[in-house]
């Protein structure tokens, strides 16, 4: 069983929906290849229900290929939600209409859809598999600037004139992409890389960073789903982080206590700090809860949120302290946050 995962619940990301809407046959080709590789006789295209153009395109493409010799296929609209795209949540929803993760083990690769071993694979990866099958690995390897070869889809958001999805050669720097879209180091305070599961980094530290999964991992950063989110220089990182953490807390599937209570506590405390109403223990509590919540859930939602929070404390540490001590934002200069 193959699940082509196009749920794309990551709010800042748009690459999967755009890929499916514009190149649905590539995704289908890749899914068929994956099914052949593992001996699967069924493919489920699991596509976020809000990605209407993607749903329409994939359905139409499948109709165009009626009569083709291939595994049986069906399209399942994934419900809106950050966690709905998690592999076990996808399997759970396809089988029983409940898009919440399940306890692992068993892994979906052992016990997935209808109890069968299931490969849950992101649609972008499938599209690359299709391209490699079509043009060869040598062709694929012509792109890429560092060890890691190939290209990747990224979503550029924030302090640029032209936001949107780009295909980049792996190893292209943050600065090149941002500058080409009208961004500048002066206009940018920090960058969130890899999405809400990812990491904050100060703009000075990453303007020349190659967007390459290996290089990024070595530096404690994440390529993740390819989000490059530029925080405008006039915005406050503490407030931006408070918004992300409130979202992550709300998007908990609500099944595991440490995630339900821990993320809510972190989100609430971060909001108090952002709004200049921090209690004496808030910063210490945020730090403690953040390290405490890691690994304590059925899925990795709390781990991703904790990683983002920990990186925020590192990158915006002075600003967190300023907010907590003085009840003010040093960027807006006011008691009321601006971001």
């Amino acid at each position: 069983m193959v699940v082509a995962n196009g749920a794309e619940g990551e709010v800042a990301s748009a690459k999967d929906r755009i890929l499916m809407a514009h190149r649905p046959h590539l995704v289908i080709d890749g899914a068929i290849l994956a099914a052949e590789a593992i001996g699967a006789d069924e493919i489920v295209f699991y596509i976020g229900e809000e990605h209407e153009a993607a749903l329409t395109a994939v359905k139409r493409a499948l109709i165009e290929r009626t009569g083709e010799l291939r595994p049986s296929t069906r399209v399942v609209a994934a419900p809106i939600g950050y966690v709905a795209g998690e592999a076990s949540a996808a399997v759970h929803y396809i089988d029983s209409g409940d898009a919440r993760p399940t306890t692992s083990p068993p892994r979906v690769s052992e016990f997935g859809v209808q109890g069968r071993p299931t490969l849950v694979q992101n649609v972008e990866s499938l599209a690359y598999a299709a391209l490699i099958a079509r043009f060869g690995d040598r062709w694929f390897r012509t792109a890429g600037r560092l060890e890691r070869r190939g290209t990747a889809l990224i979503t550029l958001t924030g302090a640029v004139r032209e936001e949107g999805v780009r295909e980049i050669e792996l190893g292209t720097t943050v600065g090149e992409i941002a500058a080409a879209a009208g961004g500048s180091p002066a206009g940018t305070r920090a960058v969130v890389l890899g999405g809400y599961f990812g990491t904050w980094a100060g703009i000075g530290d990453v303007w020349d960073l190659p967007l390459d999964p290996d290089t990024m991992r070595e530096r404690g950063l994440t390529f993740g789903c390819g989000i490059v989110g530029l925080l405008p220089s006039e915005h406050c990182g503490v407030s931006a982080t408070a918004q992300i953490m409130a979202f992550m807390a709300k998007e908990s599937a609500g099944q595991c206590g440490p995630c339900i209570f821990g993320l809510r506590a972190i989100g609430d405390a971060t909001a108090r700090v952002a709004h200049g109403r921090a209690g004496a223990g808030d910063l210490g509590d945020i730090e403690r809860w953040t390290s405490q919540v890691v690994g304590r859930g059925a899925c990795h939602h709390p781990d991703g949120a904790a990683q983002l929070m920990a990186s925020a404390m590192e990158v915006f540490g002075d600003e967190f302290i300023h907010h907590a001590r003085h009840g003010r934002c040093s960027i807006s200069g006011s008691r009321v946050d601006v971001a």
């Binding site: 399940t102 306890t103 083990p105 099944q255 595991c256 206590g257 440490p258 995630c259 209570f261 821990g262 405490q292 304590r296 859930g297 059925a298």
Partner: protein
């Protein structure tokens, strides 16, 4: 469970409802957060404590505490 196999404690976080009995029964091994959800020790457990640990496992009202062999791919 063969005697030479390492064993570990795992929590089924979806089942766990934060009763905290495990932490009360095994305070040296299992911590509790402020919502009484367990904070587990990393790595395999000391077999000398197996009796007390089994008792805590049996006492969990949600049957969320699991004593199991360390999976092959997690050893070493």
């Amino acid at each position: 469970m063969s005697p030479e196999r390492e064993v570990r404690l795992r929590v089924d976080w979806i089942r766990c409802d934060g009763y905290g009995l495990c932490g009360d029964l095994l305070p040296d091994l299992i911590g509790l957060d402020e919502w009484r959800y367990p904070i587990m020790p990393p790595g395999p457990i000391d077999r000398g404590q197996l009796n007390e640990i089994q008792r805590a496992v049996d006492c969990c009202p949600m049957k969320a505490l699991i004593l199991e062999p360390v999976p092959a791919d997690r050893r070493g």
